[in-house]
Structures are given as structure tokens and as C-alpha cells.
């Protein structure tokens, strides 16, 4: 409510470190640590779980979860767990790549458009509008078709759709910042536009960018899996969660649920956790949002 002044109490000398915030927010801490665990597991797991994801064993096909194969084996006797780990690695790394590429391109274009305005702005805005009017998945599919289907094409396609999405928000933010007194005051001391842009504007974009990266990451991992599922993403024998679901879907129906079950569960967990984290972080960063929940 605007009638009451925002907290104006004397504030501690230093910016509150993120860790102190974590201590208070248990759910966020839980979500973060779960996600971290999943990421660490997929990235480092293969170091410990040494069965190669491509090693077939026709003597042990379609075995259910057991001690030797905690997630069972598939129709050629490959160990689902090692494929799960490898697949997670593909999904997570590709998701990160998409979030990062989009962020970098989006940020550069937003800075250019927001600070130069004029035709540069018009051009980039038009470009991003023209891309954003396609549904992400369709666009990525078309690009996969135009290039050779695979993780690279998927990353290119999804990044292409993600950058305008960053740019749109960041551009608004850049424009807003340029209207702010602290930017005007920096210009008023005679600072070079480059200094204003990089030392003052850019740092303010970072938190927004990180939030958006979280959202893009989640969406990208899902889209990537969707492409894999449609046969337009990672190609066998590369393990990837979506592709694994395709391979396992017929066995889903004959009772061998573990082949498609675990990758799906992995996807669900990774994306849900990302969503929860991004949500929570947004609330914290939102100047209007209060930390505590109350009515």
C-alpha cells in the first residue's frame, strides 16, 4: 500500500549477502540444493558410475531396476542410469548454452537499442518482433530441419528465439535506467557514454538477466527434450532425456517403465526446481514484493 512509507530504517553498513538470505528462506535453499545436487550428479556422476552409456549387453536387456542397474537396462541392455546421467549432462549443458547465448546476444542488442535509440532501436525491435511471433518450438523445429537435426541445431534454434525475449525486457530496462537520476547524474559529471553504459547501466541489468536466464533455462531444457522426443533434437546414440523418452515410450506400455520413466522424472525435477527458484528470486528482487507471506 502506498500510503505507508517503505522501510526507511537505518540499514546495516554492507549489502546483505545472499547467504544470509538463504538461511532465512528454507524452501529456496532446499530447491537450490536439490537442483545443485542434480546438476552435480549429472556432471560428475559419470566419473563414479563407470558403465559407459553406449555399452550394450544383449544378455541383459530390459531388466528392471536392480543393484547392478539402479535404473534398469534398455532393449539393448544399456544401463539406463549411465544414460540418464549422460542425458542429463546434454540437457543441462545445452540448456545453459541456450540461456547464455540468448542472454549475451539479447544484452548486447538491448544495450545498443536502448542507448542509441533511433533506427538501431527500430531495427532490433523489428527483428525481435519478427522472431518472437513464431512459437519457440516450431521455430526450433524449422531450424533443425534447415540445419542438420542435432543438439547444435536445437541450441541455435532455441537461442534464436530466446534472445529477443531477453532483449525486450532488457531494452525496456535500459531505457528506464537512462531516465533515472543516477544515470543522468553520471552524464552530468561529463562521463563518456561508454562508461555510463558499461559501468552504470550494465550492472543493473545483471540481476534481471540472471532471473531471465533461469526462466529461459527451464524452458530450453523442456524444448530441447521436446525436440529430442520428435526426433529433431539430440540424435541417437547421443543420450538426451527427450530422446530417451522416445526410445523408451513403447516399453512404457509393456511395463518397462524405467526406460522412459527416469529421464522424464529428471526433466520434471530439473525444470520444476528451476521454476521454483526463479519465482522465489523474482519475489525477493521485486521491490514491491515482501519477503514474508501474509495477507
Amino acid at each position: 500500500m502506498t500510503a505507508l512509507a517503505a522501510p526507511q530504517a537505518v540499514v546495516p553498513a554492507r549489502r546483505r549477502p545472499f547467504t544470509s538470505f538463504l538461511k532465512r528462506d528454507r524452501r529456496l535453499t532446499l530447491a537450490l540444493s536439490l537442483l545443485a545436487a542434480l546438476v552435480v550428479l549429472t556432471l560428475l556422476g559419470p566419473l563414479f558410475w563407470r558403465i559407459p552409456p553406449e555399452a550394450i549387453n544383449l544378455g541383459a536387456v530390459l531388466q528392471g531396476p536392480s543393484f547392478a542397474h539402479p535404473m534398469g537396462t534398455d532393449d539393448t541392455g544399456r544401463d539406463v542410469m549411465s544414460r540418464f546421467l549422460a542425458g542429463g549432462q546434454t540437457s543441462i549443458l545445452a540448456g545453459l548454452a541456450i540461456a547464455l547465448i540468448g542472454a549475451i546476444v539479447g544484452c548486447v542488442t538491448a544495450l545498443l537499442a536502448g542507448s542509441m535509440r533511433g533506427w538501431v532501436d527500430t531495427l532490433f525491435t523489428w527483428l525481435s518482433n519478427s522472431i518472437l511471433c513464431f512459437p519457440a518450438l516450431l521455430l526450433a523445429m524449422a531450424i533443425a530441419m534447415a540445419l542438420k537435426p542435432g543438439v547444435t541445431a536445437a541450441v541455435i534454434g532455441l537461442s534464436l528465439h530466446s534472445f529477443p525475449w531477453y532483449m525486450r525486457t532488457l531494452r525496456g530496462e535500459v531505457m528506464r535506467l537512462y531516465g533515472q537520476d543516477f544515470i543522468r547524474s553520471t552524464m552530468a559529471i561529463g562521463a563518456h557514454p561508454g562508461r555510463v553504459l558499461f559501468r552504470h547501466v550494465l550492472p543493473h541489468l545483471v540481476p534481471i538477466m540472471i532471473l531471465q536466464m533461469a526462466a529461459v533455462f527451464g524452458a530450453a531444457v523442456l524444448s530441447l527434450a521436446a525436440l529430442g522426443y520428435l526426433g529433431l533434437g539430440a540424435q541417437p546414440p547421443t543420450a538426451e532425456w527427450g530422446e530417451m523418452i522416445t526410445e523408451g515410450q513403447q516399453f512404457f506400455l509393456t511395463g518397462q517403465w524405467w526406460i522412459a520413466g527416469f529421464p522424464g522424472l529428471g526433466l520434471l525435477t530439473a525444470v520444476t526446481l528451476t521454476t521454483v527458484i526463479a519465482d522465489r528470486a523474482r519475489e525477493v528482487l521485486d521491490p514491491r514484493g515482501e519477503f514474508t507471506q501474509a495477507k
Binding site: P135, P263, L267, T275, K295
Partner: protein, 338 residues
């Protein structure tokens, strides 16, 4: 007023133009020869050359683009070699199925999101809000194709309550007369109750799964909007006049939330063509989505191009309409602002 309208129209046209260039260039750059693909693997080089010429593939890109736009404007979307149909025919066959599924799920999503978020925000307790947020986070994170498989396994195979992935009607079920192309609507119009029940029964599971994403998106949006509005001064003012929670909520909070929901919900409609793509694929739903997925696998560029462009135009048009609707619904913009 008219000048803003013209400006928006201009932006919309420019966007569509950009999109068309994009699809055109993208698909002309597809490796492989479309003429060869159409002529078949054993066709001779002369056949392929003749075909290339008749398809205009030898012209320069600008001429090709001009021809392409020209035929689009004439309503000719090209020929799908992978199905042996004109793309227009295919769209006509497939669109109703997608619309039926998409519209139903968008409507469910809107209704469910509004109800859930209202309950979460209105309730003074914490658990409804937490429950709704958890549900929407889960819905957001769930891979639709996997959930669809899971649902099939549980509801169709284990429990047998819902039909298998057999499309829109049980095999052998009489199709209703073609009025709108949407089976549930048509069968109701024709009074075919059995067909209606069957079509509805086939619709439930896929629609429920397609709904997940939009529901997650809308419910969190609406919730945040409501919470934001609740913090507005005018809400406190109404309360200070002695209005109780429910009337304030209904008369002042909800309208703001709904107004802000309008553009978001319209984006869902804009996403109709692609939104159900994955679920269509799993359920054997004969819609645009599964057609596009197949066409992409087959490199049937005419279909892909048409669907991409259609989706883009739909998006632009719907957002334009939503914009105008917003303008019309919001008195701040409707009545000449100060």
C-alpha cells in the same frame, strides 16, 4: 486514438513482413533439393529439372519471394509432397481438430487459473497459495509428452477409463456432419449424443494435458497480478469506506486482474497452432501440430512454411486485437487521456 491504431497496425504489418522473409529464407536454405524430394528417388535428372523449373526454384530469390507472397495472397499455400495434398486442403482437414483441442484447453486453463489464483489470493491462509504455486510450478516443469505417456499408461491401460491414443473418435464411430469441423460441437448441433459423448471422452485426456502449460503460466500471472492489485491504494480506500473483503475483491481487485489477463490469455490463443503439438503427437490427434511434426521430419517445406507463417500471423493479429481490446476496456486509454 486513430494515430495509435494506425501505428500499431503498421508495426503488425512490419512484423508479419519480417516473419515472412524469415520463413522464406530459412526454408529456401534447407539443404536438399525440394524438386528431387517431390519427384521421388528414382526419377531421372530431366524429370527433376523440369520440376525445378515448374516450381520456380531456378529464379532468383527476390523473384521467388515475390511469387511466394503472390500465391500466398491468392490463398495458395503450396503443395505438400509428403502427403500429396495441397497445403490448403491439409490445413482445412487438420485445423478443426487442433482448434477443438486447443480452444478447450485454453478455456479450461483460463477458468482453472482464475479460480485457483483467486482462491489462493483471497484465502487468508497460506496453504491454498502454496498449493496453487506448487501446482503451477509442477505444471510448468512437466514435459507434456512424458506426462501424456504417463496418463495413457495410467488412465488408458491400467484403469481403462479413457480411450487409447486413437485420435478424435473410437474407430467405427460415425463422424458427425461437418459444420465447424469440431466433433463435439458438430455432434451436439446434429443431436448425435453418442458421438458427442465419444468425442468428448476422447478430448478429455489430451485437453487436460495441453492445459498444464497455459494453466501454469496464467495462474502465476493472475496470482501476482491480484496480489499487486491488493496492495494498491484504492483497495485500501474502498476498505476504509467500509466495504467488506469479498465485494472489494469482486468489484475492484478482480477486474484489474482480468484486464491484465487479457493479453496473456490472447497469447495462448496465438499459440494454439503449436501449443498442442507434442500432445497431439502422443495421442494420435490428427491436428496441425502432429502434421507439422511429420512434415518437418519429411522436410516438407511447403507445409512447414505455411504453418510457421500462419502461426506468426495468428500471433500478430491476436496480439493486435488484444491490444485494441485492452485499449477499449481500459477507461484510461479509452476516454481521451489528459
Amino acid at each position: 486514438m486513430t494515430s495509435t491504431l494506425l501505428k500499431r497496425l503498421g508495426v503488425a504489418l512490419a512484423t508479419i513482413f519480417g516473419a515472412s522473409i524469415f520463413t522464406f529464407v530459412l526454408l529456401r536454405k534447407v539443404p536438399g533439393d525440394p524438386a528431387r524430394a517431390i519427384a521421388g528417388d528414382t526419377a531421372t535428372e530431366e524429370t527433376v529439372a523440369a520440376l525445378r523449373q515448374s516450381m520456380g526454384l531456378d529464379d532468383n530469390l527476390f523473384v521467388q519471394y515475390g511469387n511466394y507472397m503472390g500465391s500466398l495472397l491468392r490463398g495458395d499455400f503450396g503443395f505438400s509432397y509428403s502427403t500429396g495434398n495441397s497445403v490448403g486442403t491439409l490445413l482445412g482437414q487438420r485445423l478443426p481438430a487442433t482448434l477443438e483441442l486447443g480452444l478447450l484447453s485454453v478455456i479450461i486453463a483460463i477458468v482453472a487459473a482464475v479460480l485457483a489464483a483467486s482462491f489462493a489470493v483471497y484465502s487468508r491462509r497460506r496453504w491454498p497459495d502454496q498449493a496453487v504455486r506448487a501446482a503451477s510450478s509442477l505444471a510448468m516443469g512437466s514435459p507434456p509428452f512424458w506426462i501424456a505417456l504417463l496418463a495413457l499408461m495410467v488412465f488408458s491401460i491400467q484403469l481403462g477409463i479413457f480411450p487409447g491414443p486413437e485420435g478424435r473418435l473410437s474407430p467405427g464411430m460415425l463422424k458427425p456432419p461437418n459444420i465447424t469441423g469440431m466433433f463435439t460441437v458438430d455432434s451436439l448441433l446434429a443431436g448425435q449424443w453418442g458421438t458427442f459423448a465419444n468425442a468428448a471422452w476422447h478430448l478429455i485426456l489430451p485437453a487436460a494435458i495441453v492445459t498444464l502449460g497455459p494453466f501454469a503460466f496464467l495462474s502465476r500471472l493472475y496470482r501476482n497480478q491480484l496480489r499487486g492489485t491488493l496492495r494498491e491504494t484504492f483497495v485500501a480506500v474502498s476498505r476504509s469506506h467500509g466495504l467488506r473483503r469479498l465485494p472489494v475483491y469482486n468489484r475492484h481487485v478482480a477486474p484489474h486482474g482480468l484486464l491484465s489477463l487479457l493479453p496473456a490469455a490472447s497469447l495462448l490463443f496465438a499459440d494454439l497452432l503449436a501449443g498442442s503439438l507434442l500432445v497431439e503427437k502422443v495421442f494420435g490427434w490428427p491436428g496441425i501440430g502432429s502434421m507439422t511434426a511429420d512434415a518437418i521430419i519429411q522436410k516438407d517445406f511447403a507445409v512447414v512454411q505455411a504453418v510457421l507463417l500462419l502461426a506468426a500471423v495468428l500471433y500478430v493479429v491476436v496480439s493486435l486485437l488484444a491490444d485494441l481490446l485492452m485499449t477499449a476496456a481500459d477507461p484510461r486509454t479509452r476516454v481521451g487521456a489528459r
